[in-house]
């Protein structure tokens, strides 16, 4: 990329990701990625969800050209990751799992270095750096050495660095792992803004269900190298079942009355908490009717909970295991790429 310019935010048909039958086998290890196919549309936030060791980071490393695929094809921004690595790198921004920063440089110096390595005109680096540092809330800390930054600050700087050259596609590999909820929420807002306001395509790996639920337009669930489910979070949850309502009667209310009242709204289920439970026939919209019915019949309750299906339920339904604690370190059978500890 020499004398060209490009505009950020002009969404193009090629600003997506297309992966067909992607396979990666480490030299002395198992298949880390086993026939993954997916498509991410321009401006979409795609959540790649899975436990540790599922193959998320390996997939990201292939899509960002750090690792050649063993088999299959992958095109990022219209370029083949296997044969057009340089063109891919020009179009993408990447924040890998560990925010690898130089502790002896300041935040602003990192921006300057990153901009320079991307070949930006020197006069343009400073205003872009200032704007991005402001955007991620690091203006005040910009001239401090990164060695003194908190984990959240490093993540935000990492995001700013990934954006310095105006990429059309952003890869975020577990961007909020280890962050407190405040930092996590701030980062989510920033990522949402990038996709909504500037049309940046975001490929986000995460092992946090709420992160995928909150951020992603669509979610792909990967387990043991295979894509086991894909769709919008709502569609995936709807696919595996309707929500349930569980209530515990007040002290002087017979359980049978509560069970009978709830049974009118759907299929009764066993309750683990000494109450009554029912799978709603129509969906979450019925909750208000349930409450009104109990109230009109004078059935007081001590506790009432709506259990909407979660992505964990989806994962459970597809793999027979719970997402929490399902994973292990991502296997590598060859000299590891130093950046990620695990997928």
């Amino acid at each position: 990329m020499t004398d060209s310019t490009k505009l950020n935010g002009n969404r193009r048909d090629t600003d997506g990701i297309e992966v067909i039958d992607l396979v990666h086998v480490y030299k002395k290890g198992p298949k880390a990625v086993d026939g993954v196919s997916l498509r991410v549309g321009p401006g979409e936030i795609y959540g790649f969800l899975g436990p540790n060791g599922a193959g998320k980071s390996t997939t990201v490393h292939i899509l960002t050209t750090l690792l050649p695929p063993t088999d299959g094809t992958a095109r990022v921004a219209g370029y083949d990751v296997r044969t057009e690595g340089r063109a891919v790198r020009d179009e993408i921004g990447v924040a890998l799992q560990e925010a690898a920063l130089d502790p002896f440089l300041t935040g602003r110096e990192h921006m300057r270095l990153q901009g320079g390595l991307h070949g930006l005109v020197p006069d343009q680096i400073k205003p872009r750096a200032d704007a991005l540092l402001e955007r991620v809330g690091l203006s005040d800390a910009a001239d401090r050495r990164v060695g003194g930054y908190s984990g959240g600050m490093k993540r935000r700087l990492d995001l700013a660095l990934a954006l310095v050259h105006g990429p059309r596609i952003l890869f975020l590999d577990e961007p909020t792992t280890g962050l407190d909820i405040q930092s996590r929420t701030a980062l989510w807002e920033e990522v949402e803004g990038l996709a909504d306001d500037e049309g940046v395509t975001v490929f986000l790996t995460t092992q946090y269900l709420e992160e995928a639920d909150a951020l992603a337009d669509r979610v792909g669930i990967i387990d043991q190298g295979k894509l086991v489910a894909e769709g919008t979070p709502a569609a995936l949850k709807a696919e595996i079942g309707r929500p349930t309502v569980e209530a515990r009667p007040a002290e002087d209310v017979p359980l049978e009355r509560l069970e009978a009242a709830l049974a009118r709204f759907g299929e009764p289920l066993p309750s683990d908490h000494g109450g009554a439970a029912v799978r709603l026939a129509e969906g979450t919209g019925e909750l208000a009717e349930v409450v009104r019915a109990l109230d009109s019949e004078g059935i007081e309750f001590a506790d009432l909970q709506l259990h909407a299906p979660s992505l964990n339920d989806v994962f459970l339904a597809k793999t027979g295991r719970s997402l929490e604690g399902a994973g292990e370190e991502e296997p590598t059978g060859e000299e590891p790429i130093p950046e990620p500890a695990a997928a």
């Binding site: 505009l7 950020n8 750090l66 044969t83 320079g116």
Partner: protein
């Protein structure tokens, strides 16, 4: 955000930024600089006082052992360059910063050139310090004022050679510990050279042979000639040839190692 414009000459631009980073991070780590200044001077002081009687050996080229020994810290300081260059690069590999660099359009050659910049900055500081301390302590500099730039150029070439070797080891091993493990080996090479005595005055045959085939002898004799003899064309030529050859071979090896290390497609 406004449109992004891109500069021409990526190699120059990238090398400049990487050199700037290398210099800045080296300058901000006194531990990378101070020992390379203090330790060689400390050893010089011990040698100059403990081995001063060597000047009485018939044929010894100077009556000041300090003047004779002053070449030693220049080479010892250059050996530190191996450590600095290799460790910095290995740390980048270990902590993932190298991956960050790989994800930019950076060329491997830019990184090699840039990484050497920090080493050469230290080499300048070292050469100035050793020369000034040596002269202040009473050493002679027979080559005179015009010998100073030659001394600096030679010092530069030697540090570049050792620095490039450090880059090669750092890239191959990806381990700072492996680079630091070279240090004792380098010192063996230094002590098996003509660092302590002129080669023709070494009495032990095996030691004289070792010093003769040891390339370090020729770079140390080139530096020493500027202090002791003045202008010795043969010694200087041999010193520059050995240092430059070491640099070229090490850089070629480092370039291949860089190509292997840059796994990106």
């Amino acid at each position: 955000m406004e449109a992004v414009a891109y500069a021409d000459s990526p190699f120059r631009t990238q090398a400049r930024y990487l050199a700037w980073r290398s210099v800045v991070r080296t300058a901000r780590q006194p531990i990378m600089i101070v020992p390379t200044l203090v330790f060689p001077l400390f050893l010089l002081a011990i040698n100059a006082s403990g081995l001063s009687a060597a000047t009485e050996i018939p044929g010894f080229p100077t009556d000041s052992y300090l003047t004779f020994a002053l070449a030693f810290p220049f080479i010892q300081g250059s050996i530190f360059a191996t450590n600095t260059a290799g460790t910095n690069l290995a740390e980048d590999i270990q902590n993932g910063f190298f991956n960050r660099l790989q994800l930019t359009p950076m060329r491997g050659s830019s990184l090699l050139a840039g990484q050497l910049a920090g080493v050469l900055m230290v080499a300048i500081v070292q050469a100035i310090t050793y020369l000034l301390v040596g002269l202040a302590a009473g050493a002679h500099f027979e080559a005179g004022i015009w010998g100073v730039p030659v001394l600096f150029a030679l010092s530069f070439a030697i540090s570049a050679g050792f620095g490039a070797f450090g880059l090669f080891v750092g890239l191959r091993s990806g381990s700072g510990e492996a680079v630091q493990g070279l240090f004792p080996l380098m010192f063996v090479l230094l002590f098996l050279s003509s660092a302590s005595l002129p080669r023709d005055l070494i009495q032990q045959d095996w030691f004289q042979t070792a010093a003769t085939i040891n390339p370090v002898s020729y770079v140390i004799e080139a530096v020493r000639s500027l202090f002791v003899t003045g202008w010795d064309g043969e010694a200087l030529a041999l010193g520059f040839i050995v240092a430059s050859s070491f640099f070229v071979v090490s850089m070629i090896a480092a370039s291949f190692a860089m190509r292997e290390r840059l796994e990106r497609t």
